[in-house]
């Protein structure tokens, strides 16, 4: 793997805290230039602990990180001017206005965009004169994003960028992140919204208990998972009457079929239902989603632990 192809590489990364708790347990991955990479996981999976190592806020207990070919912790001055960071929880002086905050940040940033441009990118231009303490939670997240974008970063780290945003704000942030990617920015984001990872990420890694349990594109991660069909059988029709080939699981009258051939299975089910004249109440068939994959992985891992 060459450094000009991969802008971020992590090798056997570990991070332990003072109490002995290991938040990151030997993970490896690489992020190619110009792609959106999502670290997906439940709260406490180790996402933020990992991102902090990539951002150079802490040194790993073991393992190796490279961002743009440098150690982000030891070679801070070489890395920082080329990256943008949005923390999960960062703050601004509450008595400064939005514009004053951005101006302060611009003075601390190499090659900063003009402040109005940065605020315009996140739709905060009209709020420039408002004190930070009067902003809504979502507006504060957008101000945070504006500051991360001020230095026209080559690599952008977004730790849960849309947490606390309403549906519209989330969609706008997605559009902006895609626009950044299309112009060549590499984006590493963490999220616990599966929908976000599915719609935004080119590559993703699912983290659980400090480890990466699955990686790939959203399509390959979901492709290995079965689709499912759900419905209710009418009273008096036992699940045993269903065609055997369907491998149906029954919970009373509630039926769930898991299949890797959704179309074929559905066809067989519907033909049987018509021939037997049995109505299938609440029929619901769906391809595997990232959510399914994610929940299944989380459950398996918990059971195995």
């Amino acid at each position: 793997m060459t450094t000009d192809q991969y802008v971020i590489t992590a090798n056997e990364l570990r991070r332990s805290y003072a109490g002995g708790f290991e938040a990151v347990s030997g993970i490896s991955f690489s992020v190619a230039r110009g792609e959106i990479f999502a670290l997906l996981g439940t709260n406490g999976a180790g996402k933020t602990s990992t991102v902090e190592l990539l951002e150079g806020l802490a040194a790993p207990t073991a393992g190796r990180v490279r961002v743009l070919g440098h150690d982000p912790y030891r070679e801070r001055p070489a890395v920082r001017p080329r990256i943008g960071v949005m923390l999960q929880e960062g703050g601004f002086p509450s008595d400064l206005t939005v514009a004053e905050t951005a101006r302060m940040w611009a003075g601390c940033t190499s090659g900063a965009r003009p402040v109005p441009e940065a605020l315009g990118l996140v739709g905060l231009a009209e709020r420039a004169g408002v004190r930070v303490k009067q902003l809504s939670g979502g507006e504060r997240r957008r101000l945070d994003l504006a500051l991360a974008l001020l230095g026209r970063p080559e690599v952008l780290f977004l730790d849960e960028p849309t947490t606390g945003l309403d549906a519209e704000g989330r969609r706008d942030t997605w559009d902006l992140v895609r626009a950044l990617r299309d112009s060549g920015t590499t984006v590493l984001l963490t999220t616990h919204y599966l929908e976000e990872a599915e719609s935004l990420a080119d590559q993703l890694a699912i983290m659980h208990r400090g480890q990466i349990v699955t990686t790939g594109t959203p399509a390959t991660v979901t492709a290995s998972r079965p689709a499912r069909i759900r419905f209710l059988l009418p009273d008096g029709v036992p699940a045993g009457r269903l065609p055997l080939g369907l491998h149906a699981g029954a919970d009373g009258q509630r039926i769930e079929i898991r299949t890797h051939q959704l179309q074929e299975s559905l066809e067989e089910l519907l033909r049987w239902a018509r021939e037997s004249q049995i109505p299938l109440e609440g029929l619901d068939a769906r391809s595997a989603s990232l959510e399914e994959a994610f929940l299944e992985i989380a459950q398996t891992e918990t059971a195995g632990a």
Binding site: P93, W105, G107, L121, L149, G184
Partner: protein, 275 residues
């Protein structure tokens, strides 16, 4: 925030480095100092402490010194109070103010956020300190000018020592403020955590009672307090009459305290709230 606004403000261009505005220490410190000055002006309590408290304390010091026989100290009441006022400015404007500022920025997660950017740690602390330090230096200049012009105090005998004393004092008290901030959980509790430094300096470093008037054993202990060396340098610089052995010892004490405080900041300063 819509797709249209993104387009109209120009698609983000990460490769575009046409603006040669590379960040430099001077630019970063200016940006941080300017923001901090705005905050100081908007914070009435802090502004009161920084502007009026020194004046109140000078009057209090003078009335306390009025009742003492300063013959042994070799200073007039005016001389003792005006030099004490410089010490008071250092303690109140630099230490007291900065403890609140550092704690407030830490609790608002501003320090944590700043550390993700290009600003090195020491510049974050220095930039935050700039307005308080500037204000303190201005007040020191005003005190010296006022003393010379209106109070029949002579011009400083050894300006070099006076400047050195004030300079070391500023660095020392700013560093001590960062150390104090580390053990201060909220802006409110800063009123309590700053008390020891204030009391020890006022009572023991010659602000209220010149060391010459203390019993000898007590005086030799007080000579080792953080601000005493600084005060000796300031008095030697303005009023003269201190022999060079005493000046050297005072300078050494002040420098050792500064070095220890700076090391303590490196070791113990907290950049994030305790959770």
């Amino acid at each position: 925030m819509t797709a249209t606004t993104i387009k109209s403000s120009g698609a983000p261009r990460p490769a575009d480095r046409s603006q040669p505005s590379k960040s430099s220490p001077a630019r970063r410190l200016t940006a941080l100092g300017r923001a901090e000055l705005t905050l100081l002006i908007r914070n009435r309590t802090a502004l009161f402490v920084a502007l009026l408290m020194p004046l109140v304390m000078v009057v209090a010091t003078k009335s306390s010194l009025d009742s003492m026989d300063l013959g042994k100290a070799g200073m007039s009441v005016v001389e003792a109070s005006m030099t004490a006022a410089i010490g008071m400015v250092l303690v109140l404007v630099v230490h007291l103010n900065l403890v609140s500022a550092y704690v407030a920025r830490r609790e608002e997660l501003v320090l944590k956020r700043l550390r993700t950017g290009e600003v090195p740690d020491h510049e974050i602390l220095a930039g935050t300190a700039l307005p308080a330090v500037g204000l303190a230096l201005t007040q020191c200049v005003l005190l010296v000018a006022g003393g010379v012009a209106f109070m029949d105090l002579g011009a400083p005998k050894r300006p070099d020592l006076l400047i050195a004393g004030i300079a070391i004092g500023v660095v020392l008290l700013a560093a001590l403020a960062a150390v104090t901030a580390a053990i201060t959980r909220t802006v409110e509790s800063a009123q309590i955590t700053t008390m020891p430094m204030f009391l020890v300096s006022v009572a023991g470093s010659g602000l209220l009672v010149p060391l010459e008037l203390m019993p000898e054993k007590m005086a030799s202990v007080c000579e080792l307090l953080p601000l005493t060396g600084v005060m000796t340098l300031i008095r030697a610089g303005w009023l003269g009459g201190t022999d060079s052995a005493d000046v050297t010892r005072a300078a050494l004490t002040a420098l050792v305290w500064s070095a220890v405080s700076l090391l303590a900041v490196r070791r113990w300063f907290r950049w994030e709230p305790r959770r």
